[in-house]
C-alpha cells in the first residue's frame, strides 16, 4: 500500500471519510430518485440514502474501533459460534441428535396452519435441489448455472406422462430421476474439457435452451400455457391432497436425499470429487478417472433435481416454463454457497433461509427483493465461506482458520 498523497490524506481520517461516503451515495442515487415535478425536486429521498449510509458507516466504525476491522471481528465471532456448535454436536450423541431433529420435523408441522406447511414443503423441494446441486458445485467444484433445467426435465416428465400416457406418480418418480440423470450426462459430455467459467456459461445456456424449447414447442408442451390437470400422487388407494400429506411426502424424499448424499460424500466417489475440485491435475495423477468422475457428478447431481421436479408437478398439478427460469438456478446456487459449500448441514440451512426469509419479508412487499439482494452482498462480504463451512474443506484453509476447525475435523472423522 503506497503512502497516501497529502491531498487525499484527509479522506483517510474516519469522519471526513464518512461524510464523503454518504454524500457520494446520495449523489449516486440522486438521478434515479429525484422527481422534477415533486416539491424540492424530490431531493428528500437521496438525502435519506445519504443519512442511511452515514448511520451504517458510523456503526461499522463503532464496531471496528474496538480491536480490528469490523468484518474480521464478526468473522471471528461467527467462527467461534460455528466451532462451538460443531463441538456441541460432536459431544452429544449423534444418534440422539438425529432422532430429535427428525422427530421435530415430523411433529412440529402438525401444529402449523396450511400456509406455513406449504412454506415447509417449499423448503423441502429446495433442500432436495440444493443438495443435488451441492454434489456438482460443492463437492466436484463444477459451477453449474443451469441446474433448473433438470428440475424442469423432472417436472415435464411427470406432466407429460401423467396427462398423455396416464402413468402414476410412483412409476414416473424413478423415470424422472433417470431422465434428468441422462440429461445431466448429456450436458456433461460436451463440457468435459471446459474449465471454470466456460462451464458456467455453457450450463447457463443449456438451462435457457431447455426453457425456451419448453416455451415454444407448443405441440408437445403446450408452450407458455403449461400443462394442466396433472394427476396427484396416489398410494394404496389413498390420494395425496392436503398440504400436510405433501409435506410428509417431500420429507421422505428429503431424508432419502440426505442419506444418499451423505453416503456419497463419504464414499470413494465423494473423495474423488473433492480431490478433483481441489486440484484436477493432482487428482488425475492419483489415478482418478476425471471423465468418469465428472460425468458421475453431473448425473448424480441432476437425479435429485429430477425427483424434485416430479414432486413439484405432482403437488402443483400445473406446470409452465415460468417456474424454470435462470433466476431459480441462481437461487439454488446461492443456497449452496450461502450455506457452506460441500457441507450437508450448511446447504440445508442455506436452502431453509433463502425460502423462509423472503416469506417473512412479505410485509415489506416491494422492498423484499431489494433487501434480499443487499443481504446477499453483505452476507458474502462478512462470511465468504458460507454459514457452515464444510469441515473437510476447513482443513485445507490457512493457519488462522485451522485452529477453529481442527476440533471439527476430528469430530467429523470419528
Amino acid at each position: 500500500m503506497p503512502t497516501p498523497r497529502r491531498s487525499i490524506a484527509i479522506i483517510q481520517r474516519p469522519f471526513p471519510r464518512i461524510v464523503l461516503t454518504s454524500l457520494w451515495f446520495g449523489l449516486l442515487s440522486l438521478p434515479l430518485m429525484m422527481e422534477l415535478q415533486a416539491p424540492f425536486f424530490g431531493l428528500g429521498r437521496p438525502l435519506l440514502v445519504s443519512a442511511g449510509v452515514a448511520v451504517a458507516s458510523l456503526l461499522r466504525l463503532a464496531v471496528s474501533q474496538r480491536g480490528g476491522p469490523g468484518a474480521e471481528r464478526f468473522q471471528r465471532l461467527m467462527g467461534a459460534i460455528g466451532g462451538a456448535g460443531r463441538d456441541l454436536v460432536g459431544q452429544m450423541n449423534r444418534r440422539v441428535l438425529y432422532v430429535v431433529a427428525l422427530a421435530s420435523a415430523v411433529v412440529i408441522p402438525l401444529g402449523l396452519n396450511r400456509y406455513h406447511i406449504d412454506i415447509l414443503t417449499q423448503v423441502g423441494i429446495y433442500v432436495t435441489l440444493a443438495l443435488g446441486l451441492n454434489i456438482v458445485v460443492g463437492l466436484a467444484g463444477l459451477l453449474d448455472l443451469g441446474y433448473v433445467a433438470f428440475y424442469a426435465v423432472g417436472a415435464y416428465t411427470y406432466g407429460l406422462l401423467s396427462t398423455r400416457v396416464g402413468l402414476s406418480f410412483w412409476e414416473v418418480l424413478p423415470l424422472g430421476g433417470l431422465l434428468a440423470a441422462i440429461f445431466g450426462v448429456l450436458l456433461g459430455i460436451p463440457v468435459l474439457r471446459l474449465r471454470g467459467d466456460y462451464l458456467a456459461i455453457v450450463t447457463l445456456g443449456f438451462g435457457e435452451m431447455i426453457r425456451i424449447t419448453l416455451n415454444n414447442w407448443d405441440s408437445v408442451t403446450r408452450g407458455p400455457n403449461g400443462i394442466l390437470g396433472i394427476a396427484r400422487p396416489k398410494m394404496l388407494g389413498f390420494t395425496f391432497s392436503t398440504p400436510i400429506q405433501y409435506y410428509y411426502l417431500i420429507l421422505a424424499i428429503v431424508l432419502l436425499t440426505i442419506f444418499v448424499v451423505d453416503r456419497l460424500n463419504r464414499s470413494r466417489i465423494g473423495r474423488a470429487w473433492t480431490a478433483m475440485r481441489d486440484d484436477e491435475v493432482a487428482a488425475e495423477a492419483m489415478g482418478i478417472n476425471l471423465m468418469r468422475t465428472k460425468l458421475l457428478a453431473f448425473g448424480l447431481g441432476a437425479t435429485w433435481a429430477g425427483f424434485a421436479g416430479v414432486f413439484f408437478a405432482g403437488k402443483m398439478t400445473f406446470i409452465s416454463p415460468e417456474s424454470f427460469t435462470f433466476f431459480e438456478s441462481v437461487i439454488i446456487v446461492c443456497m449452496v454457497v450461502l450455506g457452506g459449500m460441500g457441507s450437508v448441514l450448511g446447504v440445508i440451512l442455506g436452502a431453509s433461509m433463502l425460502v423462509i426469509l423472503p416469506e417473512m419479508m412479505r410485509q415489506f412487499a416491494l422492498y423484499r427483493m431489494l433487501i434480499f439482494g443487499g443481504a446477499m452482498v453483505v452476507m458474502m462480504v462478512l462470511r465468504p465461506q458460507g454459514l457452515i463451512a464444510s469441515s473437510r474443506r476447513g482443513i485445507a484453509l490457512g493457519p488462522k482458520d485451522r485452529q477453529g476447525s481442527a476440533s471439527a475435523a476430528v469430530t467429523s472423522f470419528r
Binding site: 474449465r195 466456460y198 491435475v281 462480504v381 465461506q385
Partner: protein, 300 residues
C-alpha cells in the same frame, strides 16, 4: 433480405461487443464474472432518459440537437463509471482472495439489488426513449441502413479503437495488461493494483453506459429488466471470443449479433436464443478457450 439481416446483425452485434468488453476486461484482471454488468448497462439507458428529461425541463435544448445526444451519452458514461467503481469497492474488493464463488454470489446480489432499486425508483413500466434521429438513412442495394444504425456502428467502432489505444499506448493500459498477466508480480514492480482494478471497472462501465443509451434509442423502450438478457448475451459473446481477450470480445459480439439476426431471419425468431447458445456450445467443444482465447496451460 440477406443484406438487411446482416446490417441488423452488425448493429446488434456492435452493442453486444461494447457490453462484452466490460465483462472481458474485468474477467481478464480479477477472474470474476461480473453479473452486475448487465445492470450497469440498464442504468446507462435510464441515465439517458433522465438526462433528457432534465434538459427539456430546464429548456436547455431542442429535442433533436446533436448536443443533447452527446450530453446524454456523457452523463450515462459518468454515472455508470461511478456506479461500477463503487460496486467494485463495496462488493468485490473485500472478497479478493476468497473462494471463486463468493464474489460471484456477491455480484448476483448486486444485480438483484440494482434491478429492484431501479424498479422502485423509476417504476416497473416500460419507459419510452426520445426519438432523436430524424435522418432518413441510406439505401444500399435495396436494403436500408437507418441513421441510428449507422450511428450505433460508428460509435461502437470509435469506442473500440479508443479502448485499443488506451490499453496499448498509455501507462494505465500497460499497468492493466501487467495486472492481467500476474497481479502479484504487477504489485511487486510498483503498480497500484487496486487503482488498476478500479480503472478497469470505470472503463468497462462507461462502455456499457454508452451501449445502454444507444440501445434505448434503437428500440425506443426500456425497462428495469433489460440488463438481464443483454448481460447474458454479452457474456456469451465474451466467452465466444475467448474471455479475457479484448479483440475476442469484439469479434464474439459481432458474431453473436450476426448469428442471431440470421437465425431469426431464416430459421425461427422464437428459437434465436437457442441458436446463439448452440453455436456457443459447438465452438467451445472445438475450441475450449473461445475463438481468440489462448490455450492457457494449467499451472501445477
Amino acid at each position: 433480405m440477406l443484406l438487411q439481416q446482416l446490417i441488423n446483425g452488425l448493429t446488434l452485434g456492435s452493442v453486444y461487443a461494447l457490453i462484452a468488453l466490460g465483462y472481458t476486461m474485468v474477467y481478464g484482471i480479477i477472474e470474476l464474472i461480473n453479473f452486475a454488468h448487465g445492470e450497469i448497462y440498464m442504468l446507462g439507458a435510464y441515465m439517458g432518459i433522465i438526462t433528457f428529461g432534465l434538459l427539456t425541463t430546464l429548456h436547455l435544448t431542442s429535442p433533436t440537437s446533436g448536443a443533447t445526444l452527446l450530453i446524454m451519452m456523457v452523463m450515462a458514461m459518468l454515472f455508470c463509471s461511478a456506479c461500477g467503481v463503487t460496486i467494485e469497492r463495496l462488493a468485490y474488493r473485500p472478497l479478493r482472495g476468497a473462494s471463486r464463488l463468493s464474489p460471484l454470489i456477491s455480484a448476483l446480489g448486486v444485480s438483484i439489488f440494482l434491478q429492484n432499486f431501479v424498479m422502485l425508483a423509476q417504476g416497473p413500466r416500460d419507459r419510452g426513449f426520445p426519438h432523436l434521429f430524424a435522418g432518413e438513412g441510406i439505401d444500399l442495394f435495396g436494403s436500408r441502413i437507418s441513421a441510428i444504425q449507422i450511428f450505433i456502428m460508428a460509435t461502437s467502432v470509435l469506442m473500440m479503437v479508443a479502448l485499443q489505444l488506451l490499453v496499448h499506448r498509455t501507462k494505465i493500459g500497460k499497468a492493466m495488461r501487467a495486472t492481467a498477466q500476474d497481479m502479484q508480480m504487477a504489485s511487486l514492480v510498483g503498480i497500484d493494483v487496486d487503482r488498476v482494478i478500479s480503472a478497469t471497472f470505470l472503463i468497462g462501465s462507461a462502455l456499457a453506459g454508452v451501449a445502454g443509451v444507444m440501445v434505448g434509442m434503437y428500440y425506443g423502450l426500456i425497462n428495469f429488466f433489460i440488463g438481464y438478457i443483454a448481460g447474458i448475451k454479452a457474456f456469451t459473446a465474451a466467452v465466444l471470443g475467448g474471455i479475457g481477450n479484448i479483440p475476442g470480445a469484439m469479434l464474439g459480439g459481432l458474431l453473436l449479433g450476426l448469428i442471431e439476426a440470421l437465425g431469426a431471419g431464416y430459421i425461427s425468431s422464437e428459437y434465436k436464443d437457442v441458436f446463439a447458445f448452440a453455436i456457443l456450445v459447438v465452438v467451445l467443444i472445438f475450441r475450449p478457450s473461445g475463438l481468440l482465447g489462448k490455450d492457457i496451460s494449467r499451472r501445477v
